[in-house]
Symmetry: C2
Subunit: 305 residues, 2 copies
């Protein structure tokens, strides 16, 4: 294992722990100014949906993208990462519902609607989505108001109809009417790409970076977003091929033809390597500071779970 | 009909139309900067949930509370009203779901999950909730960034676990375990009171009003919120008593003992008049400017639908 990969793993762990500490505090029973009460069962459902051992990859990207620049307090980046994680986790809670992907288990634990009930899962998701914007705006997040406004706008557009939520809608439609390749690309850019892109762009927003640097981080985010999806589809294809002894996995069963399923494993592996190179080239202007984000692109492209 | 009541009705109509014009534009097919695409079916579900002939009472309160002060552009107050209406409508779309209140009709039209499907209703609600924060932060909403941050914070706390969403969770619990009177008061303050309170406070926030004036508007909002709920419970009791020939209505059937059902119609009518007087007293410092909000308190207390 290279030194840089060890450093990456160590940062993934320490950043993840910092984000979880903030999330646990935000999801404590303490009623905040402007709130009336925090119903215990709903709070427990929110905690179940968030404090579940995720890798915290999106917050990691926020924190490490911000670390490319001078003058950003790590604690601030951690809080914006925690806000983004609330959005990611709300989407998982809602996607798992019977009316959506109908999943009973996530990370080996019962999903929120199984551990609680459907109504609690809907409301926990709604409350996590709302909490994300609360975190960005709250006085404890020490950023200029103009930066908070920019974050709220970019996050809402990445998460709403024009981003993640719209992508989930397209994904459900895709089970009925198979999209063409352009349609698959759009669907994936929205469903998983938009939040990964936001994560990287958010680092630049927090740092009040130049428009050029913000655009670069945005493109880096798009690039690792594409790699993330291809790696995901490849895992779906190959993990099932190995364990179930057939060529296509869960996606194909659901009638979702991924790009990887259409074009094959060799294409996917080539494409992943090309995307990692692209990410590396994008980060070149940040020279030695960018080592961790380069390593992150490798990690995303080569992940095995 | 008094002249002031006619003016109130005329403003309710014109403000409502202004809000709907903005909402229709916001929910057009035009992809906004930062968005990737707007899936047509999800957009249609969102429009179904919002452009449904509501009274737009919450936006009305934002606009008229802001109008107490000098220097607020009406168009800005209309946009903040539209953001709040997105939150209100998302909550109706989700509350109507089978796992929640399971309602097939709203305003005589099929609810979103009936007209589309459950997944579309969940995602339309999520996207409307997200859009609310988008509207507050967007450049078209011409307010200082500090004002936008204050609005995002107050709105998220009014709508999240400590406000509306938490209130809906308590309301569902109340079908299993009847709350005591203090519990009912908290539940109602959260479920319906929090957004009405925010509406009035938002007018003061937009106007950059003094802390004292902001606190007054907040208390006015709490007061009309209480009146709104009592009027609602009274309607449930008396409308069903008239039409179904029995003493209690839908709430009692669901095992929800409202304060009105416990204490009776005479108590409710007295309480409503006391709340209107309280609202009027709170507004006294705004003298002649407050006529419309005084009339609004009367309207809320005496509404028959």
């Amino acid at each position: 294992m290279s030194e840089r990969h060890q450093e990456f793993l160590s940062l993934l762990k320490s950043n993840g722990e910092a984000v979880e500490t903030v999330l646990a505090t935000l999801l404590s029973a303490d009623v905040q100014p402007g709130e009336i009460a925090r119903p215990a069962r709903l709070l427990a459902a929110m905690r179940h949906g968030v404090l579940n051992g995720g890798k915290r990859l999106r917050p990691f990207l926020v924190i490490e993208a911000a670390a490319l620049f001078d003058g950003v307090e790590r604690e601030t980046a951690v809080r914006i990462g925690a806000a983004l994680e609330c959005i990611h986790c709300y989407s998982l809670v809602h996607d798992d519902l019977p009316a959506m992907d109908d999943d009973d288990l996530r990370r080996g634990q019962p999903t929120v609607h199984i551990a609680f009930d459907e109504a609690a899962a809907i409301l926990a998701g709604d409350s996590l989505l709302t909490l994300a914007f609360d975190i960005v705006a709250s006085p404890e997040t020490r950023l200029p108001d103009a930066t908070k406004t920019a974050l709220v706008l970019a996050l809402s557009r990445a998460a709403g109809i024009g981003g993640m939520a719209g992508g989930q809608a397209l994904d459900l439609d895709a089970e009925k009417t198979a999209p063409d390749e352009a349609g698959i690309v759009t669907l994936q850019a929205m469903k998983t790409g938009a939040l990964l892109r936001f994560a990287c762009e958010a680092g630049a927003i927090i740092a009040d970076a130049s428009p050029a640097d913000r655009a670069t981080l945005r493109r880096y985010g798009e690039t690792v977003g594409l790699a993330f999806q291809i790696a995901d589809d490849l895992l779906d294809l190959t993990a099932d091929a190995a364990t179930l002894g057939k060529a296509t996995g869960k996606d194909a069963e659901r009638g979702k033809a991924t790009l990887v399923a259409r074009r094959g494993q060799a294409w996917a592996e080539d494409r992943l390597q090309a995307l990692v190179k692209e990410a590396e080239a994008l980060l070149a202007p940040f020279s030695h500071r960018a080592g961790i984000l380069v390593e992150t692109a490798h990690f995303i492209a080569n992940r095995r779970n």
